[in-house]
């Protein structure tokens, strides 16, 4: 725990060193310096925005559509392209390659007999063969870039045109069509003749299986959902408390009793809320939960954490200014919402792009969001000079959020706002309030070490919440089914996407290859000097992209049974945009695959949100462009802030 032991204990220790450079980075700062954090915030922002203005956004079917668009081809390709970009290269042929490899796969499978000829291989031969062709393509791109020392932009632009031409040429040469189909002939053939389907059935499951929500009934679903999200949230909060606060040498053991009491109270409150519909019941439940949270968390803190020594109160002007601006923005949002007619569903005439209701929602959500951001900036500024000041402002922020929640409940016509947004905002307000109180009473942690508990709590909290959410999205109850909900299918492509992202993230952050990827993108010369096989790494990255293109091509082939020659042409820029929105630098050497995956989600939400909100599709690209620009700017801003905070 002291300087003497520091050299030998390495990463632990170094707590009391009198070196201002050794300031401990707290949980929030550590989260903020991750390259994908900007993308996460942008994704949440876009989701909240569309959730507010588009009806299907809160529903399972909406989620399924977004996942579908985000997963394949966009997401898988964005992740691979992000890795290549981190390695300092581009692949403009990646879009065209997706279609080309799908076509190759189908052509290899198609029967020789008949007018439209193909190679007639079994799928078990065709898939590895087309994969080999894909890898050869990547190898070719990478080797050309290395050998010629030309920018990969030029080299792969060449391969793009070659692929584009080859797709059209070969399709027409062999099947005399620009569409190549069909894989499910195999299944049909097997059905009619009783012969083997050459493994089509199994592979179809592997590449195109679908989970139809309507055929999975689970009555306990809502309980799992509630339990999972609430317990998960509680664990995350406790974990963050644990990570954020300094452990006391001797706490007050009675605090644990308070924590237990609080938990009981919260559970009781939830039960009250769940079993009653009356206004007084709701009030009782909510107050029970709030009181339980406060008592529980403060009790836990008293038992475990060190009390705050410096409680001086000071509010710097900067903090007051941004807080004041926040108040103005909040007032503006409330006035706007109150002034505009909430009943009017006509289009706003001068543009005809949104309805009056929609415009009201947009105005309100944007202004209120801006107010929240300004509030939090104020809190952050205040905290730098005085912990108590920051806590005070945070408490005021919490109360404003609660107040806005009641305003939304009173003013809004849609049930979505009246119930979901209301409860969510109240919950957020409660969490902020308790946090504010705790931060004024207990000291912040200033050293590393003993983080296992906190990290484990946060981690298991997220897992629990995901399980709860997953149950909610994947299953239906009998009553919903009776009410006649629409079909919602989740395809296996989502799993491919998740798996691919997970593997790529692991490779990028944990393996030598990942390190080398960052190195060749950041400084190729330097990495060669220390023995990194720079050229080989780049070739492998190009091969990774073409592997992803093959995967996407096969997924498409199994989904549509036909692929047309233009498939994927021009899509490569979407992959690059998704990667950049996700925090990957165009100059190489910086970025994250997780960020690229989230970038794909942002794009998918933008694409899906506009028709979902029933906006005029003429303005679609204007909206998408604006959203992407905002996401990229916000991302950049947050990253700059985070880097400065190092």
């Amino acid at each position: 725990m002291t300087t003497a032991a520091e050299a030998s204990t390495g990463s632990n220790g170094s707590e009391e060193t009198h070196d201002e450079r050794l300031a401990y980075r707290g949980i929030f700062q550590r989260v903020l310096v991750r390259p994908e954090i900007g993308a996460v915030i942008a994704a949440v922002g876009v989701w909240v925005f569309f959730w507010a203005v588009a009806e299907p956004f809160g529903r399972a079917s909406g989620a399924a559509s977004i996942l579908d668009v985000a997963a394949s081809p966009l997401g898988i390709m964005a992740v691979a392209v992000a890795m290549l970009m981190i390695g300092g290269e581009f692949d403009l042929s990646s879009g065209a390659a997706t279609g080309a490899l799908g076509i190759v796969t189908i052509l290899l499978v198609r029967d020789v007999s008949g007018e439209m000829a193909g190679a007639g291989f079994s799928l078990w031969v065709a898939l590895p063969l087309s994969l080999a062709i894909a890898l050869a393509l990547g190898w070719f791109n990478g080797t050309m870039v290395n050998r010629t020392s030309l920018p990969s932009f030029i080299v792969t632009l060449g391969s793009f045109f070659v692929l584009k031409g080859a797709k059209l040429g070969f399709s027409k040469l062999i099947v005399e069509q620009i569409q190549v189909g069909t894989l499910d002939d195999l299944a049909d053939y097997a059905e009619t003749t009783g012969a083997s389907d050459k493994g089509y059935g199994f592979l179809n499951t592997l590449f195109a299986a679908e989970w139809d929500r309507r055929s999975h009934i689970w009555e306990a679903r809502d309980n799992i959902y509630l339990l999972g999200t609430f317990l998960g949230l509680a664990l995350v909060i406790i974990g963050v408390f644990e990570l954020h606060h300094r452990r006391a040498e001797r706490g007050i053991p009675a605090g644990y009793a308070g924590a237990g009491l609080g938990l009981v109270s919260v559970l009781f409150g939830i039960n009250t809320l769940h079993s009653t519909d009356s206004v007084s019941g709701n009030w009782t439940g909510s107050l029970l939960i709030l009181a339980g949270m406060t008592v529980g968390l403060i009790g836990l803190s008293a038992a475990r954490y060190h009390p705050l020594s410096d409680r001086s109160l000071a509010l710097p002007t900067g903090a007051v200014t941004s807080f004041g601006l926040g108040v103005v923005a909040l007032a503006g949002s409330i006035i706007a919402a109150a002034m505009i007619d909430s009943q009017n569903s006509e289009n706003i005439s001068w543009l005809g792009l949104v309805t009056v209701q929609g415009g009201r929602a947009i105005l309100f959500v944007s202004l209120a969001g801006a107010a929240l951001v300004l509030f939090l900036i104020g809190v952050n500024r205040a905290r730098r000079s005085s912990i108590a000041g920051g806590g005070l402002l945070l408490a005021v922020t919490a109360l404003s959020v609660a107040g806005t929640a009641f305003f939304v409940r009173a003013e809004s016509q849609t049930p979505k706002f009246r119930t979901q947004a209301f409860s969510f905002m109240l919950m957020a307000a409660a969490i902020m309030l308790v946090w504010a109180i705790a931060s004024m009473l207990f000291e912040r942690r200033s050293s590393t070490g003993h983080e296992r508990t906190g990290l484990a709590l946060v981690g298991s909290g997220f897992v629990l919440a995901l399980v709860g959410l997953g149950a909610r999205l994947l299953y239906v109850t009998q009553s919903e089914l009776d009410a006649g909900i629409t079909k919602t299918g989740y395809s296996v492509r989502i799993l491919w996407f998740a798996g691919f992202t997970a593997v790529c993230t692991w490779v990028l952050t944990r393996t030598r290859f990942g390190s080398w990827t960052y190195a060749v993108g950041g400084n190729k010369q330097a990495s060669r000097q220390v023995g990194v096989p720079a050229n080989r790494t780049k070739v492998q990255l190009f091969m990774l992209v073409s592997f992803a293109a093959w995967l996407v091509g096969v997924l498409l082939a199994f989904r549509l049974n036909t692929i047309q020659a233009s498939t994927g042409d021009g899509e490569e820029f979407e992959y690059i945009i998704a990667a950049v929105v996700g925090g990957t630098a165009l100059t190489g050497g910086y970025g994250s695959t997780l960020g690229a995956a989230i970038g794909a989600f942002i794009m998918a939400m933008s694409v899906q949100g506009i028709p979902s909100a029933r906006w005029n599709s003429d303005w679609r690209f204007l909206f998408i462009g604006t959203i992407l620009l905002l996401a990229a700017i916000g991302n950049n801003y947050i990253r700059g802030k985070a880097e400065a905070a190092r």
């Binding site: 909406g62 966009l74 031409g165 040429g169 027409k172 040469l173 036909t562 994927g568």
Partner: protein, 337 residues
């Protein structure tokens, strides 16, 4: 290392060879007619009097499924009549088409058939061709401008008329609210199809751009999003063959029944019509748009006939429905429908 490169060289050689083969097959019309007719088929020239006639067909063709049928029609007509046909695909680039028209005039063409995707740029050069005494026909697009050019007639389908035909079909099939899905954001022809639908269809029409053909995943989900936002939609008109299939996929994904109509044809679309999943497709019989101009130009050059009587010659709309799908499918696979 060297071994690797030998392998690479072999691969390259294959690619180049294949590309060369592709060229041969694709441009057979041009190549065969230019060399074959002038040389080997010398005798045929005297008999038909067509051997020294050269016609230019200048279109915005992208050599996609639609235009390759037009091309086959034109080639078949040129073969039958023993004339030379120069097929000049503009690939949606009006600048290229202007150059091609000027080339044709410079070569002393005996007849020019051109499509007019963007009249502003193309009317001028074609008027010049007329002034040079070259017979001019418009095909596919240009119904509003052929008279201004001084062209003999226009051979094609009016998009508007085709859309109206689709509207009547939807009325017959009992649809009440139709989504007219477009695969391009700004294409006058596609918008005219949708506005034609609005004119004759009795119910409500929602007209939306839902995603490019190049990204069918997005297209399918775009359609799904509109369908979910408007649950009372019971019909879908895709103004292209790919988007029609996307509409079918979207409906299947959502587990709902839609009356689906499409435009133009691919084997998949015809298969779906045959199976009864898609109700109809509007067929503008583009084979005629290739075949007829060559015949009409030939007759004008050899017999001074002028067809059309100042009105356009319509090639559609024809409809492919479950009743005639099987026959059309066979012809489509042969490449003439």
């Amino acid at each position: 290392m060297t071994k690797r490169f030998r392998w690479l060289a072999a691969l390259l050689a294959i690619v180049l060879f294949a590309a060369a083969c592709g060229d041969d097959t694709n441009d057979s019309g041009e190549a065969a007619d230019e060399s074959g007719d002038a040389g080997d088929n010398g005798e045929a020239v005297d008999q038909t009097q067509g051997g020294d006639l050269t016609f230019h067909m200048i279109t915005h063709s992208d050599d996609g499924p639609f235009w390759s049928v037009v091309k086959r029609g034109a080639e078949a007509a040129a073969d039958a009549l023993g004339v030379t046909l120069v097929w000049m695909p503009g690939n949606n680039d009006p600048g290229q088409m202007v150059t091609d028209i000027e080339t044709a005039i410079g070569e002393g063409s005996d007849g020019i058939a051109a499509s007019l995707p963007s009249p502003d740029q193309l009317v001028g050069p074609l008027q010049q061709a007329v002034a040079e005494g070259i017979p001019v026909y418009t095909l596919n697009s240009g119904a509003n401008d052929y008279q201004a050019i001084g062209a003999t007639t226009h051979i094609g389908q009016s998009e508007d008329v085709a859309g109206r035909g689709a509207g009547l079909r939807f009325n017959e099939l009992g649809a009440t609210k139709v989504l007219c899905g477009r695969q391009e954001q700004s294409n006058v022809g596609l918008e005219e199809r949708c506005s034609g639908l609005k004119e004759t269809f009795d119910g409500e029409v929602i007209d939306e751009f839902v995603g490019l053909d190049a990204d069918q995943t997005e297209q399918i989900n775009g359609i799904k999003a509109v369908l979910e936002a408007n649950p009372d939609i019971d019909g879908f008109l895709g103004v292209g063959p790919v988007i029609a299939m996307s509409g079918l996929q979207a409906a299947q994904d959502l587990g709902i029944d839609l009356v689906i109509g499409g435009f133009d044809m691919t084997p998949e679309l015809l298969g779906a019509i045959e199976a009864g999943d898609i109700a109809f497709t509007v067929d503008q019989q583009q084979y005629l748009q290739g075949y007829l101009p060559v015949v009409l130009m030939f007759l004008e050059a050899t017999n001074l006939n002028q067809a059309g009587g100042g009105l356009p010659v319509l090639t559609g709309p024809g409809f492919v429905t479950p009743e005639n799908a099987a026959g059309v499918l066979a012809l489509s696979e042969a490449g003439t429908r």
